[in-house]
């Protein structure tokens, strides 16, 4: 187990290095002077010169990369030229809202596991085909289209929930402390979560179908175990393992989805911040937002992998 954790942590370091290289390449190997890009389109020549020196643009490329990493390690994502504020500050104020949205969406997403299992156990019934078809249709809906739809139906047409903005207060950053806060959370969280529910339930169904046809489930039946034990004990654990990994990888889509969802619902957060920065060509803010989301994603996947090892002895003892 410890060996596995250690190896996973080493891997994490490599991934972070890889991500920093790719980000560096994207930003610095683009034709033209990256200082212009980073300074923004209305920057003064002095500001461009300042940034050039700060980035070490006159130095060899490995020095530039070194400085880039050094700044990242110190949490220095540069300064927003639009607001003339450090990106780090902007992130700090935007993160709690986004965290709330992401946590809520993940909690909703977990509904996909029981739905998928139920569907697999009722294969060839009307339930299964209905659930599967619905899942497939929802899975194919781009998150911003669903957001537009939810906003219109529940916010504008039915008028039962606020359809833009943020409000109220929270407890421990993410737990809604009042109705005002919760009501602003529901539509974006359901939008983001329901697509994941569709995806996860589809995957869970496939995985469960494979498991209940496996030899070891047949063995469990041959041992005379009651059907409840065959399903709950011998099938469930094996069927959930691959879905956990899929769910981890899918957090990336959820991060991207958060940007779009926050944009449609004008919900203050990292996503809306990045959207506004995109339109203002405020590159430091875009990079800061993307790197922050990447970091969360990488850490979340680490957690998923550790959970995976906890469940699956083959990995634990490797």
């Amino acid at each position: 187990m410890y060996g596995y954790i250690a190896r996973r942590l080493v891997q994490l370091v490599f991934v972070l290095i890889g991500v920093s290289i790719i980000t560096f390449l994207i930003m610095f190997l683009i034709p033209g002077n990256p200082a212009y890009l980073l300074a923004g389109k209305n920057a003064t020549p002095q500001r461009v010169a300042e940034i050039s020196v700060e980035l070490g643009l006159n130095k060899p490329i490995y020095v530039q990369y070194g400085r880039f990493v050094d700044r990242l390690v110190h949490g220095n994502f540069g300064e927003s030229y639009q607001f003339e504020r450090p990106v780090r500050q902007m992130l700090q104020s935007a993160i709690p809202n986004t965290a709330q949205l992401a946590v809520a969406a993940v909690l909703i997403e977990l509904l996909g596991i029981p739905l998928g299992i139920y569907s697999a156990l009722r294969q060839y019934t009307i339930w299964d085909s209905t659930l599967t078809t619905t899942a497939l249709i929802i899975w194919g809906i781009p998150v911003f289209v669903l957001a537009v739809f939810m906003q219109y139906v529940f916010g504008v047409y039915l008028g039962i929930l606020p359809f833009y903005g943020t409000g109220g207060s929270t407890f421990l950053w993410v737990i809604p402390a009042d109705w005002n806060n919760l009501s602003h959370l529901i539509l974006p969280a359901v939008t983001l979560g329901i697509i994941e529910v569709a995806y996860i339930s589809y995957m869970q169904r496939a995985s469960m179908l494979e498991v209940i046809r496996s030899d070891y489930v047949r063995t469990a039946r041959a041992k005379g175990l009651p059907e409840r034990s065959v399903i709950l004990k011998h099938s469930l654990k094996n069927a959930v393992i691959p879905v956990l990994t899929i769910a981890g990888i899918d957090l990336g889509a959820l991060m991207g989805g958060a940007i779009l969802t926050e944009t449609v619902f004008s919900r203050y957060g990292v996503g809306l911040m990045v959207y506004n920065a995109i339109n203002a060509r405020d590159l430091p803010v875009v990079v800061g937002g993307v790197l922050f989301a990447t970091f969360v994603y990488v850490i979340a996947n680490l957690v998923v992998d550790l959970a995976y090892a906890y469940i699956d002895p083959r990995i634990r003892y490797e």
Partner: protein, 322 residues
């Protein structure tokens, strides 16, 4: 799933036929079916997949027609009842009618024509982006799987990194840096999504390269490259076809999302994504038709690819063969 006995012979060789023998509940047919005939037979039973295939065909026909019109300039470069960019304030915000089945938008452009013509953006992005990713994947994957060793390690570690970050965010970052526009969208998607193709091809190459017919080709003196492209590749493609179908659907969504965020295809060129973004405010004012139809076009097309991709995966997955 019951009788999974190997096709081994009774005592020693060749009592059983050299042909694979079906298990008792999935017997072999009179004539052994080819890989594709067999896949088609399974696919045909999956109604959702057939609906998906139908959608893809309709989408391809419309998209290709628009591309041909655009390239040749026939009929003003579009195949639609109206010029998709013709502004006419006198008929602005008209709800659907016989003359304008999808209504008109806030400056009187025909929404139906715009939705039709925009299909070419989706088709081009889907095909070109996936082609770029696939070309990279097909170059690196077999290299990795066939040679193994250091080449394999390097390629797969790099692929790991590409898997370890949220792809959509880096597409966004790359497009922001490259600047908005149609071309940069497919370059960004293509460059950042190669890893899954490479990994898929590598995996199947690994499982296949030890099989006998590859040994036979080697023994017959075929060169390494001919082995890879002549024997290994065609046999490892089934999961890749699935990934292509899913990948095109994914690229279409990504383009639409980027255009929705304002960094994809730029107005006045119609794309489903920028139409959805453009008409959003009018939905809230009750002029639903502008927003509804591009949304429907996008959702139906993406559903087609995902549904077909899923069906193809089920039809080619040996584990699901009953």
């Amino acid at each position: 799933m019951t009788d999974t006995e190997s096709a081994a012979s009774f005592a020693e060789p060749q009592l059983d036929s050299p042909l694979p023998v079906g298990s008792e509940n999935e017997p072999v047919s009179a004539k052994p079916l080819g890989l594709w005939a067999d896949t088609w037979r399974r696919l045909r039973r999956n109604k959702l997949a057939l609906v998906g295939l139908g959608i893809i065909i309709v989408f391809l026909v419309i998209g290709v027609a628009q591309i041909i019109a655009g390239v040749t300039g026939i009929h003003g470069g579009y195949l639609a009842p109206y010029n998709p960019n013709a502004v006419n304030y006198t008929i602005a915000k008209a709800p659907p009618s016989l003359a304008h089945p999808f209504g008109t938008d806030y400056i009187g452009r025909d929404v139906f024509s715009r939705v039709l013509v925009a299909s070419r953006i989706s088709l081009l992005v889907g095909v070109i982006a996936v082609s770029i990713a696939l070309a990279l994947g097909l170059a690196l994957g077999p290299l990795s799987g066939y040679y193994g060793g250091a080449i394999d390690s390097v390629i797969m570690r790099v692929a790991d990194v590409f898997f370890a970050f949220p792809y959509i965010l880096f597409v966004l970052l790359l497009v922001v840096v490259l600047g908005p526009g149609f071309r940069n969208v497919f370059i960004a998607i293509g460059l950042l999504s190669w890893a899954s193709y490479a990994r898929l091809v590598r995996g199947t190459v690994l499982s296949i390269k030890t099989q006998e017919y590859v040994e036979a080709a080697k023994a017959a003196g075929a060169s390494d490259l001919r082995i890879v492209f002549g024997h290994v590749l065609p046999n490892s493609m089934a999961p890749v076809y699935v990934a292509i179908a899913m990948g095109i659907g994914g690229a279409i969504v990504t383009e639409a999302a980027l255009s929705f965020l304002g960094i994809g295809v730029q107005p006045p060129t119609a794309s489903w994504g920028n139409m959805i973004s453009d008409y959003l405010n009018y939905l809230q004012a009750g002029q639903w038709w502008m927003e509804l139809f591009p949304c429907l076009a996008l959702v139906i097309t993406v559903f087609g690819f995902i549904s077909f991709g899923n069906g193809l995966r089920d039809a080619t997955d040996p584990k699901l063969k009953e």
